[in-house]
Symmetry: C2
Subunit: 202 residues, 2 copies
Amino acid sequence: MTAKRDARREDLKGRLITAAQAHIQSSGLGGLRARDITAEAGCALGALYTAFADLDELILHVNSITLARLGAALREEATSAVEPRAKLRALARAYLTFARDNRMLWAALFEHRMAPGVAVPEWHLAEHAVLIQHLVEPLAALRPAAETPDLLARARTLFSAVHGIVAISLEDRFIGLAPTDLESELLNFVDVLVTGLETERK
Amino acid sequence: MTAKRDARREDLKGRLITAAQAHIQSSGLGGLRARDITAEAGCALGALYTAFADLDELILHVNSITLARLGAALREEATSAVEPRAKLRALARAYLTFARDNRMLWAALFEHRMAPGVAVPEWHLAEHAVLIQHLVEPLAALRPAAETPDLLARARTLFSAVHGIVAISLEDRFIGLAPTDLESELLNFVDVLVTGLETERK
């Protein structure tokens, strides 16, 4: 009996995650309401709260899938390129491509906030490592003398810079780049940075 | 009579802007409600709509003041430093300092969105130029052969990168830098980029 109930609960969770994912991808995190998701998942409003603690927990599960998909896309680039410059260029391009192709799901990673006073659970925090983990190895190759904490800080800085270039432009901010310039500017930016790192190493 | 009515309207506008500014600076754009602002400004709810078209127009006026203050802070740094490297470092540090000291007002510049289908008025769009205008001159010194459209694209890219580093960390995003590392990482980032530009010029 318990096994059957567990299976039913897992099925419900899956349907709710799929519905929330579709909703975020089409309309963004802003317009997300519990009743729309349960309607799409074909269950009662209250059922959401038997499967998840609240709407935030459901959103974290959607973000978790997005991070895993983004992580897979980045891992593929990190393993296909060999030289640090080629690797960092490939990672930046893959990040831009993923953000472009999954606009709203990608934006939800950075827009979602927990209710005041509620911490993001550890299991989800740890998943954000995919955003920087592939940057550490090429940065280490460019800065052989740097220690791990420094390399991690450099990786966070580089990720934030690339994210800023992509986000300011994709969000159509006044100060962003034209869509046609974005990829070439981003790759040029990575090139200048790598040249700077190579020069400093000498 | 008209002069007196105009003066009264200007006074009302000023009080509403001051009240909205104080509200955004203490609680951010998220919790901004017309009735809180009019209560603080000591006028009826309807008075807001005699002074401004809507709440969005009032927010644009607050953002306009924030941009002017940020512009003044950046201008001061741009004129005090001479060498491109020193100038870009000073501008990055001034941007971080302004963002830190005016957290919510600064965030409102990037969080505010007009209602769907409503364009940001031209007078306000033009004010965003302060974010990149001081970057063009030092970039031109580092890239003497570059033409104006390229320099403007480089300035937008550099602004977006610096903004990304500052924003991801100040917003306490999982992937951001520790507050103690932020300034040194940001300045190190600018240094590497300038070294890259200098090397490419040779």
